[in-house]
Symmetry: C2
């Protein structure tokens, strides 16, 4: 599959596929997702080879990521197949309805139409061509156009070829999956009226620019952007095991993860010596591309040069002849006052292997400090000893974390993001541009909208709303005669 | 209750109420909603008196509207009380999870925080201070600030007094319900970082302006605006009963309803004589305020003056000494070509008792025509004889209506909007600024966001996610050991 750079033709093909794709049953669409998963698994060695070359990520990491990507498709297939995601609701006609006779009303969720998905650089499988946003939109029944990330063009083309081929063989309509490349093409297509939703994973700067374009269209569309996150971690203690885990989380995939812990808060006076040893044992890792390398190098200089910063691990940054950047972890420490007084230099996300350990004197001050410094993050984490977790003294901090984050962890590190029904990968801005999640089965709903049918004859109702229920989906029925008892629980 | 015009103090009070209100149980919050309903019912005669004076709407209409408003609160109370709306999900920890060991993950929906609700003029109860957006946000657990509509200031103050008083007596926190007035105050508060979502019912012009403000904040927030809708009706026949029903729907509440049918498509050559008789029997009705009167008069002049328009009922427009406008229904007819050639004059919404009957020659051309002319509406309606509805010849038209509307009616008139689980009152832009519904129980979800807790000790989990489940809410459990079978249905 070569990208089609005729944006008008791409939009036309997506729009043409929209209605036939929306008509497919959850079972047929689910089987098509499984076919895509099978095809990706079958092509794994070739895809991983290309990915290693284009991204500098390690084989083990890429193997796990591709496995996650194909299983994600299988999970989404399983999620839609019973039709519960359609939220089919049937209100029986009720002549005695208290506020006036109620007609027969039936509501379900239907696909919004063509979705434009801007792929990320840092997960060439899981957040790229065949990644979560594509899987969710296809599961919902929406044609997908992926704007390839320039960091892995060959992988994008080959992956799109595999995906589109599998969908075609599974009987899905032509035009249901397309690939484009180039920033201007992405912007132009985002402005096209035939595109009905956008999805994005990347930087705050670019994400906000695209979100603003989506919002300022003549017909605005929802834009699900995952932007920036620094994922603060609060520890009531710090031993060597905790610090080792921290360094591993900061340096995994060279710190190029949206859930990398950018800040670790520890009590004043704890021994931080283990950090330098742990950091020194981390091998040099290539950053994804020269642009990310330059940006990281600059952010690192800013942090190292900020007033009041103490270096725990200086790390190294090296640029090879091809312009690629290689780095080892940099970890610094500051006290709370230094952090609050140097916000500009210190608070911004550092995309790469760098983190800041913040020493605090007053645990009781943490909830307010967190709310002030970190109003929107994908995750926040609390490390405390079992006896502290058993009572509720930490409740105010947990409440502050929950108000400002999509996911709150107790122990562990945020860089593991499982794909499950209960995952939330999306938090208050700037973590994401909406409160929705881009990981886990709840991500599918982003690409659906409610439609009600009033007084419809059976023959003209969509299958999930028919009395005969040919797809055997769960239907929630609101029986007649119940409106007189509303609120009576409160008597 | 007098409005507080100190916007900073209003925002501070709403923010202060946010956490204690979020902590209330669905049962306590539901009981508070029922208390509000009881208080409104107890004050009905006084409220209706003020409303009649300030809006010119008839006593019977206002009595029904207030009844609907208090029952809506009871329905929402009933909806939240069992906690199903929290969508509590629990993933058991799974060491054998296929993509890597899965931690214990628990997700629920939590309130987004303070909501600013811009009240509408045309429903002084159901879409105003105590209306659907306020009820939905309170049900979700979000503090509410209502920006009063200038069309019924005294009613707004008195209603807010009743609502706030009932919430206080029910033990809800101070600051959970506040009223402001004045356009600039509304805009200033919408820009305040402590406001986390906006809701609006009104004109496309003002709604879009506010939506743009919400989207361009440093921290953008969701804005649920209900803007403009012309609610086309397609009839395969037209007899006197149908035309009488049409005129009644166009002229009810002087046509000042967001679901008023602005266009009725009928086959060329049907007898439209019944229209003038039906329209002539409609009494003069005051429009809501002088501004709406002037705008209606101008729109009516534009329509009457457009090329190719034939008048079926001229109607009358009269302005009294106080500047209030009184009108009787105006109905005109055009053919399809006239409509498509005079879009500027004819397609815009006329807020008042005016509608356009469009004569079509080719029924097969209707789906494409509809999609082109009416890309976003709250409702669309099909009137066809029983034998036509029994087969699928009308399916393409129904599909086009469903793609472009929130609610598709088969017979009946869109101006009745019941409040039920399966109602969808929200459609593609410009009908609404999001795909969400502002009527019915699905409206509550607009003011919720997902939060996941990973590896949390029971003592620090919100009640709905605890194993002990003290609120007895439905919990969806994803058991360990199932991930190996994902997608196996497709084998």
């Amino acid at each position: 599959m070569t990208e089609n750079q005729n944006i008008d033709a791409v939009a036309a093909a997506a729009a043409a596929a929209s209605r036939p794709f929306a008509r497919t049953s959850p079972r047929d669409r689910g089987a098509a997702l499984v076919a895509v998963a099978d095809a990706l698994d079958a092509t794994a060695p070739e895809l991983i080879d290309i990915a290693m070359r284009e991204t500098g990520l390690a084989q083990a990491r890429l193997t796990g990521e591709l496995r996650r990507t194909s299983w994600q498709l299988r999970l989404f297939a399983d999620t839609i197949v019973d039709g519960a995601y359609l939220d089919a609701r049937i209100d029986d006609a009720d002549p005695e309805y208290v506020i006036g006779p109620r007609p027969d009303l039936r509501r379900m969720l239907e696909p919004v139409g063509p979705v434009l998905n801007f792929a990320a650089s840092n997960f060439p499988f899981a957040f790229s061509v065949a990644g979560g946003d594509s899987a969710a939109a296809l599961a919902a029944g929406c044609p997908v156009v992926v704007k390839a990330h320039s960091g892995h063009p060959e992988l994008s083309r080959r992956t799109a070829e595999v995906v589109a081929g599998a969908l075609r063989e599974a009987g899905m309509p032509e035009g249901v999956f397309q690939l484009i490349s180039g920033q201007q093409n992405g912007v132009d297509l985002l402005k096209d009226e035939r595109i009905r939703a956008g999805a994005f994973t990347g930087s705050t700067h670019v994400g906000r620019m695209l979100a603003d374009i989506a919002a300022s269209r003549e017909v605005p569309i929802p834009f699900y952007g995952e932007l920036g996150s620094v994922n603060p971690v609060y520890a009531t203690y710090a031993d060597d095991a905790l610090l080792d885990g921290f360094v591993a989380s900061v340096s995994g995939s060279a710190g190029q993860l949206c859930t990398k812990p950018g800040f670790l808060f520890v009590p004043d006076g704890v021994d931080l010596n283990a950090v330098s040893g742990a950091a020194a044992s981390v091998d040099e890792h290539r950053l994804l591309n020269p642009g990310i390398g330059r940006a990281f190098s600059q952010r690192r200089d800013d942090v190292l040069g900020a007033d009041g910063v103490t270096v725990l691990s200086q790390g190294e940054v090296r640029v090879d002849d091809a312009g690629q950047t290689y780095a080892t972890p940099t970890v610094v420490t500051v006290d709370v006052d230094t952090l609050t007084q140097n916000r500009e230099a210190l608070l911004e996300e550092s995309f790469g292997p760098l983190s800041v350990i913040v020493r605090y004197a007053d645990r009781a001050a943490l909830p307010a400090l967190h709310t002030e410094l970190f109003p929107g993050n994908l995750t926040s984490t609390l490390h405390a000893r079992a006896e502290e977790l058993a009572d509720e003294s930490l409740a105010p901090l947990v409440e502050a974390l929950a108000e400002t984050s999509g996911r709150v962890l107790f122990g562990g590190w945020p860089t593991g993001v499982s794909v499950t029904p209960a995952m939330q990968h999306g938090g208050p801005y700037p973590a994401t541009t909406s409160d929705a999640t881009s990981v886990g089965t709840a991500a599918i709903t982003r690409f659906l909208r409610g439609v009600s049918y009033q007084g419809a004859p059976q023959a003209l109702l969509p299958a999930p709303l028919q009395d005969a229920n040919p797809w055997d989906v769960p239907q929630t029925r609101s029986a007649a005669g119940r409106s007189t008892t509303w609120g009576s629980f409160a008597r």
